[in-house]
Symmetry: C2
Subunit: 339 residues, 2 copies
DNA sequence: TTGAAAGCGGTACCAT
DNA sequence: ATGGTACCGCTTTCAA
């Protein structure tokens, strides 16, 4: 309480407990060999002094930080939040902590972030997507720690991968539309290079539509991400204005699909009788909306747990250089009332 | 490329650039006094070696980590995500980084998290809410760094505060209901000690209802957080079953309000003609739902920017011990179609 | 503007 | 089971 304005160190604890600082260090680990009485005496002394271990020093000395650097495009996105939850759940108790950053869907921002993070000496790096600036790629390749790319299947992966083909996933929706008897199909969003996964979905949609010989011109741009309900509504308005006979619309995400749905509701257009709507991402929202929205589930949370497993496995196998782990997720369509 | 399997240090860069490591250190800061030519030579050498500064060592030596520890109850919550966005935007460029953890609405988990974080020697700590375990309070009080509590106005704040009264906020909704002519009012959620802010909202609702002499028994428990659309729907079902003549229902959050709304839609109950619904949090969802949901805006993002400003101000004024900064937000009602 | 030396607070490693 | 000692890679401080 009085006078002592300096943070106590191990040495202070050691002196009070009548041991060497090495013994204090050991007492603060779980498996270390310290006499039961000694340990208790040490912990009591530490408590008395209000001692808090300084990882900052431990990190330097042991060359381990316990950090896994993770970048996601946006915090405010239920899909990435789910991935993150999956990761932290799996990482809990492993001694690994997440150092989180978000890129705002910008590869330049990602580069800045990664550069910053590398200084913190993370033990592994998990990024979203497989598109990066050249410099960022180089930084990651030379980082010396496992790199996991998620939410995509990069053609030239940097290291490890937990993802799926966004193009293939989109095709599922086209198949579903066609099964339902819809042939005049449109796509909303996925028009900007900032959202490469959205781009891939649109590409997959187009390929599938063309493969069937259907009209492939019904595309509405939604502008730069994040694509939210507002853009979905505006895009649907445009879709209906330009191609009034469109029978089914796939949206780049459930958020945008919900926006499209509400636009129809405001206009008295019946879904799916007048127009069908499909989304992407299996958000809670899609399940609870009335009518419930048909969507594609890419197992956002599982991506996180698998990414964490990848990291854990790599870190516990020091000989695992030259190993490449690729976990491929298979997206599934969830058919609901909007189609 | 070959042989050199060790991460280069400043000394390596120094040798290659023919300077001392001190000069290299200076070259990596922006304002330091280093000759322009020298700096360029150093940066070139660093680039050549693929040198990345080791903050882990810098942190120890300078006793500064650049971390602001932040805890939020849940990642997957648009309100807290907004607060976080506000913080990171304000912190960008300040050299401060966020070390994020989420408590899952548990004070015990919060304690664990804070204890872990303190080892990393953050320069400031921002927590959500004013309820903590005794030990956690003590840890925060003795941390030696600024502590900011958010999203609440704690009776006995630990340090600084950026928040609002959740009880007062809830009263706004009661006022609004009464203005609209509704007198048989119900409340959904806010029934568990894990969500103290929800508890406060319910308390505020009850106080306001009682102050007006209205029936204060129409309360539905939604169980432990996170409260989502599903709980909102189930609770609305229960509300209608138990008190069919209820005229207006306030929900602990917009998510739960949306769930309640969809439940009515599925049952063919008209909103607001048959029953009115109010939410909390000003989520995008409330704005875009059809009908749009009346809600209370507590300026989630502004809480973040103010918290960041508080931290920045405190850290740039070393004499600011004994100062307590309290930023009080005034929530506002947003009247829409569900009332 | 630049350099030399002394830590920062732990842990690895080797003894005992 | 415990202790001694040499660092980990940077920054602080003082000098030139």
């Amino acid at each position: 309480m009085a006078g002592n304005n300096k943070t106590p160190t191990m040495l202070d604890v050691a002196r009070l407990a009548n041991v060497s600082s090495m013994t204090v260090s050991r007492a603060f680990k779980r498996d270390a060999s310290v006499g039961k009485e000694t340990r208790e005496r040490i912990l009591k002394a530490a408590d008395e002094l209000g001692y808090v271990l300084d990882s900052t020093a431990a990190n330097l000395s042991s060359r381990k930080t316990g950090f896994v650097a993770v970048t996601i495009p946006s915090i405010n996105n239920a899909n990435f939040a789910d991935t993150l939850r999956g990761m932290s759940q799996r990482l809990r108790g492993s001694g690994l902590e997440i150092l989180l950053g978000y890129t705002d869907y910008s590869v330049d921002e990602e580069e800045r972030l990664i550069e910053q993070f590398l200084r913190r000496r993370p033990e592994a790096i998990v990024v979203t997507g497989g598109t990066h600036t050249d410099r960022c790629r180089k930084l990651l390749e030379h980082s010396g720690v496992p790199v996991v790319e998620t939410w995509d299947l990069p053609a030239k992966p940097i290291g490890h991968v937990v993802g799926f083909s966004n193009a293939e996933a989109a095709k599922l929706m086209v198949d579903h539309f066609v099964e339902r008897g819809y042939t005049r199909l449109g796509f909303i969003g996925g028009d900007t290079s900032r959202d490469t996964r959205g781009l891939d979905r649109r590409r997959g949609f187009l390929e599938a539509v063309k493969a069937r010989g259907l009209d492939s011109s019904r595309l509405i741009a939604s502008g730069p991400p994040p694509i939210t309900m507002r853009e979905g509504a505006a895009s649907m308005r445009e879709m209906i204005a330009r191609w009034p006979d469109t029978q089914a619309v796939m949206c780049v995400s459930d958020l945008s699909a919900f926006g499209a749905l509400t636009e129809c509701q405001r206009k008295g257009i019946r879904v799916p009788e007048d127009i069908a709507i499909g989304g992407f991402g299996a958000y809670d929202l899609a399940e609870h909306a009335v009518p419930a929205i048909t969507t594609i589930d890419a197992s956002a949370k599982a991506i996180g747990t698998h990414a964490a497993d990848t990291v854990l496995s790599l870190l516990s196998n020091p000989e695992s250089t030259d190993v490449r782990m690729v976990t491929r997720i298979t997206p599934k369509i969830i058919a609901r009332q909007t189609t």
